[in-house]
């Protein structure tokens, strides 16, 4: 009897886990299914009359505005990622590698944006852009805002990586005649790189998926999430589902590829 009980409790966690994963995928499945919906006016309900269609997949830019919004999102994401990764990585290096006055205030300043709700970030940025800096809302205000909230996540990610590095490796390099510049280029940077790449990917996905802050500071600029949100009342074109699901596929394939390459690199015994 204790055997059956232990079987159940051993597998209980796994059973719940699988159920949770199904739950996590349910909306993705819906998004996927509705990308084949042969709907007339609104893609909210399944049209039982039309048979499933591939036409949205064949013509993903078919709905007006969807592809321009996607392009804007990619441009914003790329720019924000580039700048935030550089700025955040520099901060992370300073925090991990140096002892200086003001270090704990820096830590607080980096932590605060993560502890601030997005509406507050959006509202304050909108206020400063309009009342303070008198900037026109649009592409650049969105980029500025995205860089701001990505920096903290970059700092945290890169910092964790740097902290897990053995400082003795750098000492060994300088012991082996590498000057500080070479030590950084040959040892520190290559070893920190996985953390920096992870930070960049994180930044991109945060920026790409952001809606709340973007909605505050974008003016007439339309990003992909904003496009979806705005067209919700009028009916979202199935092309949005096609694009949304493709992003998911691309991301999953990238992660899997990275995993495979990573485990190859690390070698057998590592």
């Amino acid at each position: 009897m204790s055997r059956t009980r232990s079987w159940v409790s051993d597998h209980l966690a796994m059973i719940i886990a699988v159920a949770v994963l199904v739950y996590l995928f349910l909306p993705v499945l819906y998004t996927f299914v509705f990308s084949f919906n042969n709907y007339r006016r609104s893609n909210i309900t399944w049209n039982p009359e039309g048979s499933p269609t591939l036409k949205h997949w064949a013509n993903p830019c078919g709905a007006p505005g969807v592809c321009p919004a996607l392009v804007e999102s990619i441009k914003i994401g790329a720019l924000a990622t580039l700048v935030a990764t550089i700025l955040g990585t520099l901060i992370a290096f300073a925090l991990v590698r140096y002892v200086f006055r003001g270090r704990s205030s820096t830590n607080v300043l980096v932590f605060l944006p993560m502890a601030t709700p997005e509406v507050v970030l959006g509202a304050s940025l909108l206020t400063i852009f309009i009342q303070g800096f008198r900037m026109d809302l649009g592409f650049w205000t969105v980029v500025i805002a995205h860089i701001m909230f990505c920096i903290s996540f970059v700092v945290v990610t890169v910092k964790a990586r740097l902290q897990s590095l053995d400082p003795r490796l750098e000492e060994a390099a300088s012991d082996l005649y590498a000057n500080p510049r070479t030590t950084f280029l040959r040892i520190t940077f290559p070893l920190a790189l996985p953390g920096i790449v992870a930070a960049a990917l994180l930044s991109f996905s945060l920026s790409f998926d952001d809606f709340i802050i973007t909605n505050f500071v974008s003016g007439n600029e339309t990003t992909f999430p904003k496009f979806v949100y705005v067209s919700y009342t009028r009916g979202i074109p199935a092309q949005a589902n096609v694009i949304g699901f493709s992003m998911f596929l691309i991301a999953v394939l990238c992660v899997i590829a990275a995993q495979i390459i990573g485990s190859r690199r690390r070698g057998v015994a590592a």
């Binding site: 390099a173 012991d175 082996l176």
Partner: protein
């Protein structure tokens, strides 16, 4: 400037080197000379400042006082990469993203050696790892990693090679093997080796000179035989081998001997073998120099009553633990030269004697006082 110091050669000299951390003096006014090409061992208990000393020689730590020189060149204040010194780190510190060969070639490349890869291959041959050159460090066993670390340092033919407990992580067999290997490499390449260890046997068997460190200071330095035969402090007497100690007061002299009274017994110490010539002295004699007798021996003039507390037979020798009148526990090694069976049992009264020319006298300090009382040989 950089190339200048990097080409320095000669003996390694530390002059009054001190290292203070915020609230702690890790190395305290340490001076020593390591002759070029010698194998020097730094021996001492954990936390006594061995690693800190090495780091100051390597340039990874700057002394708060004193100077470090190689030959005539003062290298104090120069950066690690400007010194002709390489380190085999306590934890290897191999670069995980480079192959074994690239790890070894790292130093030669930085020095712009034209044939860095060939040098690396030669060094790998020296440590018998040529067949693993293409692997990453993560794919090696602990002993193999250690040998890569060694090759990576030796390949540079530095003036001084620092080894920080390079054999610490190895099992006994591999350890012995690597000791022989290290010694071979040192005599082949003729570099100055500074080898840190807290294994006294390792230090004794490998080094030309051994320095015993304690609490940031060097207690004694010299050839291993001398360190063993004539310790200059109670700490050394106990850290290098074992000693039977007793605290006494000097009463006078008798020819070439000092006469001291240790718990109502008069003992003699050769004048040249005592650091102290009047007042309190700590008397010592090595366990294998002591004879054990069932009745008072005649003619030695140097004997003590004792009670046996433990007898253990170890094959070629028998080890006795005895309690002497001062209350200290002494150890006696008796070679099993006679065919007679051992007749002593715990509780038996015995007499101890020794040739007074083997005794030594060191200053009385806290370490020694404790050792004299707690000496148990266990």
């Amino acid at each position: 400037m950089a190339t200048n110091t990097r080409e320095a050669h000669g003996d390694l000299v530390l002059e009054n080197v001190t290292k203070e951390f915020a609230d702690f003096t890790a190395v305290d006014d340490l001076s020593l000379v390591v002759p070029r090409g010698s194998f020097f061992a730094l021996l001492g208990p954990s936390g006594c400042g061995k690693t800190t000393t090495l780091r100051m020689v390597a340039g990874l730590e700057q002394p708060t006082g004193g100077r470090v020189l190689i030959g005539e060149t003062d290298i104090t204040g120069t950066r690690p990469h400007e010194r002709p010194v390489n380190t085999v780190f306590q934890s290897y510190a191999l670069f995980p993203h480079l192959t074994v060969r690239e790890n070894v070639a790292f130093g030669p490349k930085r020095r712009k050696a034209a044939d860095a890869m060939r040098l690396a291959d030669d060094a790998l041959e020296l440590v018998q790892l040529s067949h693993l050159a293409a692997r990453k460090p993560g794919q090696l066993s602990g002993g193999q990693q250690q040998r890569v670390a060694l090759a990576r340092a030796v390949v540079n033919q530095p003036e001084v090679l620092l080894l920080d407990e390079p054999l610490g992580a190895l099992d006994l067999k591999l350890r012995r093997q690597m000791q022989v290997e290290l010694k071979r490499i040192q005599s082949e390449v003729g570099l100055t080796f500074i080898h840190v260890t807290h294994d006294q046997e390792e230090a004794m068997t490998m080094a030309d000179t051994v320095a015993v460190m304690n609490r940031g200071r060097i207690e004694q330095m010299g050839p291993p035989e001398r360190l063993y035969d004539l310790p200059q402090t109670a700490f050394v007497a106990n850290f290098v081998g074992q000693s039977n100690l007793g605290v006494g007061r000097i009463h006078g002299t008798d020819g070439d001997f000092i006469v001291a009274e240790v718990s109502d017994t008069k003992v003699r110490i050769p004048k040249q073998r005592s650091e102290i010539h009047d007042g309190q002295v700590m008397f010592g004699v090595r366990p294998e120099k002591v004879r054990i007798h069932e009745s008072q021996p005649v003619g030695t003039g140097n004997d003590v009553r004792a009670v046996v507390t433990d007898v253990s037979f170890t094959g070629v020798a028998t080890q006795y633990l005895v309690t002497v009148p001062s209350g200290a526990n002494w150890t006696v090694y008796e070679q099993n030269l006679d065919v007679e069976p051992i007749s002593l049992r715990p509780g038996d009264d015995v007499w101890l004697s020794w040739d007074p020319t083997h005794a030594f006298g060191v200053p009385v300090d806290e370490d020694g006082r404790k050792a004299a009382l707690a000496e148990d040989g266990a």
